[in-house]
């Protein structure tokens, strides 16, 4: 049994990503969408807290939201996976529930 968590807020402004990561269990997945994709960037003020969790939790970013914001995949932290809307659907079905961190 595992959960897909979605985060749609920028971690530089809003502490929601932090709260989400604090409530993940091993084997859960986090998908960053909309302004949440900034949370996947390397070399930022919040990269460390994401990198720390990236081992026990699988972390994904939504590619179309990355591209809209001019961010290429090579800016992402190691271990983060890019998915499209089809991958989003797969994550939803693969995990037992989805929790939106609104």
């Amino acid at each position: 049994m595992s959960t897909l968590h979605t985060v749609n807020k920028s971690p530089f402004v809003n502490r929601t990503l932090e709260s989400c990561l604090n409530h993940c269990k091993d084997g859960d997945a986090v998908l960053m969408i909309e302004d949440g994709v900034y949370g996947g960037l390397g070399g930022t003020a919040v990269s460390a807290i994401v990198a720390e969790k990236a081992g026990s939790v699988s972390i994904h970013v939504l590619t179309p939201d990355m591209e809209a914001r001019g961010l290429s995949a090579d800016r992402l932290l190691d271990g983060i996976t890019c998915v499209g809307y089809d991958g989003f659907v797969e994550l939803v079905t693969k995990h037992d529930r989805t929790q939106a961190w609104l």
Binding site: N8, L62, V89, V92, T93, R97
Partner: protein, 130 residues
């Protein structure tokens, strides 16, 4: 799988209605069923037929109306949230003594019970909001 969807923010103002739209299309393409989309909070504003976005922007309400027609999706707008925000169908307009309604084709106004029912009857519930 049956996937239920909730949209909690208004069109254009927030990306939620766009992300939900792209998600639902992908779910249908993958062979899943999306029996209902429930519009709550400012999400109810997606359902107005009076929206006139610039020609070079997407028409969010039309997109939902078309998608629902094509795939038989039940687009439910929460009545309590809709009343506060000025979204009415003909029945509600008459009942409230308003001179007009403004809901678009393909959307129907109903109670919050439809949200709970969707939670019970679907395999997954996905919320889009702020």
């Amino acid at each position: 799988m049956k996937i239920g969807v909730v949209i909690s923010e208004g069109p254009y103002t927030h990306e939620a209605a766009d992300t939900a739209y792209n998600f639902v299309k992908a779910a249908l393409t993958a062979g899943h069923e999306v029996p209902r989309v429930f519009f709550y909070h400012d999400g109810v504003n997606v359902s107005t037929r009076l929206s006139v976005p610039p020609q070079d922007e997407r028409h969010i309400q039309n997109n939902w109306t078309d998608l629902a027609r094509e795939h038989g999706i039940d687009l439910v707008v929460c009545i309590a949230a809709a009343q506060r925000r000025g979204i009415l169908d003909r029945n509600e307009a008459e009942r409230q003594g308003k001179d007009t309604d403004n809901i678009a084709e393909g959307f129907r106004i109903s109670g919050l019970g439809q949200l709970i029912e969707m939670g019970i009857q679907t395999d997954r519930l996905v919320m889009f909001g702020d």
